[in-house]
C-alpha cells in the first residue's frame, strides 16, 4: 500500500474514518473517497482491521466487583452540596489552589518581613541625610548670600547679619553679654590688642575660581591688577609650565571681605570659568570666647601686678608672683595673636585662583604607530575580558546564594501552579 493517496494522506484518511477530522476537511476527504477506488479499498481494509481487533475480548467483570461496589455505594456517606460538614477537618478543607496561593502569600510576607526593616533603615538614613543637607543648605544660604553686583555691600560690617536666623542672633546676644561682662571686669584699661565689640556675625569667607584662558599672560596680569585695585594682595603664588604642555598659574589672594564679590565679578569674565565655589565659616562664637578669655587674662594680670606692688614678703613669694605674671602675659600674647589672626581672616577673604592656558597639541606630534595601537587594543581587550569575568564571578558570589535559596523555596509552589495551569488550559 502506498504511503500517500493523491492529495489525501493515509493518516488523514484514517482520521476521517475515525470521525476525527474538522467538518470542512471531512467533507473534502469524503468527496474524494467516493471517487477514488484506491482510497475506498484502503478504507475497507482499515475498517476490517479495526473489526478484527475486537476479536480480543476479555472475560466479563467478576460478580465480586459488582458486589463490592454495591456495598460501597450503599455505605457511602453522601453529603449533598451545601449541607453542613460536621467534621472539623473537612470543614476547613480547601481546594489545593487556595493552599498554594496562601503559601505564596506567606512566602511573600516572609520576604517582606525580612526586607522591609532594611528598607526602612535605608529610608531613615536617606531622610537623615536629606535633613542634614537641607539644614546645611539653609545655613549656607543664611551666611552665604548669592553674588551681588559690585557695591551691594557697604561698610566693613557685611550685611549678612541682617539675614542671620534665630541661632546666630541668640549666639550673638550671648557673646555680646560675655564681652560686656569681660569689659566690665576690667579689661578696658588693659594695653595691647583690644577686641572690638561684636556687632554682628563674624564670617570668614573663602572662594575658589578655576579659569581657562587662551591669552595666558594677559589674563594673569589682569587678575593681579584687579586684586591690587581692590586693596588685595597675593598670599601665595605659583606659576609653571610643562614641556609641550599648557602653562598654569595658581595663587591665593587676600582681598577685603566686602570686596570679594566685586573681585570675583571682575575676574570671571577674564576666562572660561571651569569651576567656582564659595564658602563661609562663622567664627563669632570663637571670637567672642577668645575675647572673653583675653579680658579675664588681663584682669588676672592686673591683679598679679597689684599684688606685686602692694604686698611685701619673702623672695620666694615674689618669684612665684613673677612666674605667674609671666605665664599670664604669655597667655595674653597668644590670645592676642589668635584674635588678630581671626580679625584678619574676617577682614580679608581668601580667594584662590587657578588659571590654565588653553593648549592645543601641535600637529607635529608623532601619532602612535599602528603596532602600538594594536598592542594597546589587545591589552585593553584582555583587561576588559578579565574585568568582565571577575565582575561576573563577583556577581554570582554576591547574588548566587540569594537566588539559589529562593529558587529552592519557590520551586515546588511554582511547579504546582504550572501543572495546575497546564491542566486547566489543555484541550479536553
Amino acid at each position: 500500500m502506498s504511503s500517500s493517496l493523491h492529495f489525501i494522506e493515509q493518516e488523514e484518511l484514517m482520521a476521517y474514518l475515525d470521525c476525527e477530522l474538522p467538518t470542512e476537511r471531512a467533507a473534502e476527504v469524503g468527496a474524494h473517497l467516493e471517487q477514488c477506488a484506491e482510497c475506498q479499498t484502503w478504507a475497507v481494509e482499515s475498517r476490517a482491521f479495526s473489526g478484527q481487533l475486537l476479536a480480543w475480548q476479555v472475560e466479563p467483570a467478576p460478580k465480586s466487583l459488582t458486589e463490592h461496589m454495591t456495598a460501597a455505594i450503599a455505605g457511602a456517606e453522601l453529603k449533598p452540596q451545601g449541607s453542613g460538614d460536621s467534621s472539623p477537618i473537612r470543614r476547613f478543607a480547601l481546594p489545593n489552589w487556595v493552599w498554594a496561593t496562601a503559601g505564596g502569600v506567606f512566602l511573600l510576607l516572609l520576604v517582606a518581613a525580612a526586607a522591609i526593616p532594611n528598607l526602612l533603615r535605608s529610608r531613615e538614613a536617606a531622610n537623615t541625610r536629606a535633613s542634614l543637607n537641607t539644614y546645611s543648605q539653609q545655613r549656607a544660604q543664611e551666611y552665604l548670600p548669592p553674588l551681588r553686583p559690585l557695591g551691594a555691600y557697604s561698610g566693613a560690617s557685611p550685611s549678612w547679619g541682617a539675614k542671620a536666623g534665630p541661632l546666630p542672633e541668640m549666639a550673638n546676644q550671648e557673646l555680646m553679654n560675655t564681652a560686656n561682662m569681660a569689659k566690665a571686669q576690667g579689661g578696658a584699661g588693659a594695653p595691647g590688642v583690644t577686641a572690638p565689640p561684636v556687632t554682628g556675625p563674624m564670617i570668614v569667607r573663602t572662594a575658589s575660581l578655576k579659569l581657562l584662558t587662551k591669552d595666558f599672560d594677559k589674563t594673569r596680569s589682569a587678575i593681579e591688577e584687579v586684586v591690587q585695585r581692590h586693596q588685595g594682595y597675593s598670599a601665595q603664588l605659583v606659576a609653571g609650565s610643562e614641556p609641550n604642555g599648557a602653562r598654569t598659574f595658581s595663587a591665593n589672594f587676600r582681598v577685603p571681605a566686602d570686596q570679594l564679590d566685586a573681585v570675583i565679578a571682575e575676574i570671571k569674565p577674564l576666562g572660561h570659568v571651569e569651576q567656582e565655589s564659595q564658602g563661609a565659616e562663622e567664627v563669632t562664637e570663637q571670637y567672642a570666647d577668645l575675647a572673653a578669655r583675653l579680658s579675664n587674662a588681663r584682669r588676672t594680670e592686673q591683679t598679679v601686678l597689684d599684688l606685686l606692688q602692694k604686698r611685701t614678703g619673702e623672695l620666694s613669694d615674689v618669684l612665684a608672683v613673677e612666674q605667674e605674671l609671666a605665664r599670664v602675659r604669655e597667655q595674653i600674647e597668644s590670645m592676642e595673636a589668635q584674635l588678630k589672626n581671626l580679625q584678619g581672616r574676617v577682614t580679608y577673604a581668601t580667594l584662590r585662583v587657578e588659571l590654565r592656558e588653553e593648549y592645543k597639541a601641535e600637529l607635529a606630534m608623532t601619532p602612535p604607530s599602528i603596532g602600538g595601537r594594536l598592542r594597546n587594543a589587545v591589552v585593553e581587550g584582555y583587561r576588559n575580558a578579565v574585568d568582565s569575568l571577575v565582575g561576573l564571578v563577583l556577581f554570582l558570589l554576591n547574588v548566587g546564594p540569594f537566588l539559589l535559596l529562593w529558587a529552592l523555596i519557590l520551586f515546588l509552589p511554582a511547579r504546582y501552579l504550572w501543572r495546575k495551569l497546564r491542566a486547566a488550559t489543555k484541550p479536553q
Binding site: A55, E59, A76, Q81, P427
Partner: protein, 180 residues
C-alpha cells in the same frame, strides 16, 4: 436518558442510584481496560474497584468541566501508572503484555495472535491504539490522558495501526485472514 455528567451531579446531590447507574455503564469497560493490560485478573478487578472507589471518595470535588468518561479513564490511567511504577520497583514487569498469562481456554486463535502482536508494538503507540480501539476514546480524550498534543496522538495511532497490521500480516496473516 441522563448523561454521565448529569448522573454525577445527581450523585453529588445525594442520589446513590445515580452512581449505581454510572457503575453499571462503566463496569465492563473499566474492568476490560485493566484486564487487557495486566496479567493478573484479580489485580485488574482490584484496580477497577479502586477506580470507582476513587470516584466515590472524590465526589465532592468533581466539576463537570470535562466528560465524565474522560474523568473516569483519567483516574483509571493514574491507577495503572501507579501499578506500573510499583511493579517496576519490584522488578516484576507485569505490564509487559507478552508476559501475560497464557491464553485462556476461551481465547480464539485471533485473540492470541492479537495479544502477541500488541506485545511487539512500541509502548506509547500500543497504549494509544488500545485506548482508541478498546476504550473507544476520541483523539482529544487520549491526548488529555497522556498529556500530549492531538496531532501526536493521531500520528502515533497511524503508526501503531500500520505496524500492527504488518505484524499480523507477516506473522499470522494467513490464519487471521488479513488481506495483503
Amino acid at each position: 436518558m441522563m448523561t454521565d455528567e448529569q448522573l454525577m451531579l445527581a450523585f453529588q446531590s445525594g442520589s446513590k442510584e445515580a452512581f449505581a447507574e454510572l457503575f453499571g455503564r462503566y463496569r465492563e469497560p473499566i474492568y476490560g481496560f485493566f484486564r487487557r493490560r495486566l496479567e493478573d485478573a484479580a489485580r485488574a478487578e482490584e484496580l477497577a474497584q479502586e477506580t470507582f472507589l476513587a470516584v466515590l471518595r472524590a465526589m465532592t470535588r468533581y466539576e463537570p468541566r470535562a466528560l465524565f468518561r474522560t474523568y473516569l479513564y483519567g483516574i483509571a490511567f493514574m491507577q495503572l501508572m501507579a501499578e506500573r511504577r510499583k511493579n517496576a520497583q519490584q522488578r516484576l514487569a507485569i505490564f509487559d503484555i507478552g508476559a501475560m498469562d497464557p491464553p485462556a481456554a476461551g481465547d480464539t486463535e485471533v485473540a492470541v495472535a492479537l495479544r502477541q502482536a500488541f506485545e511487539k508494538l512500541e509502548p506509547a503507540e500500543r497504549e494509544v491504539l488500545m485506548l482508541r480501539e478498546y476504550e473507544e476514546l476520541s483523539y482529544a480524550e487520549i491526548a488529555a490522558l497522556q498529556r500530549v498534543p492531538i496531532n501526536t496522538v493521531r500520528s502515533r495511532l497511524f503508526r501503531a495501526r500500520l505496524a500492527l497490521r504488518d505484524l499480523l500480516v507477516t506473522s499470522r496473516g494467513a490464519r487471521l485472514g488479513v488481506k495483503e
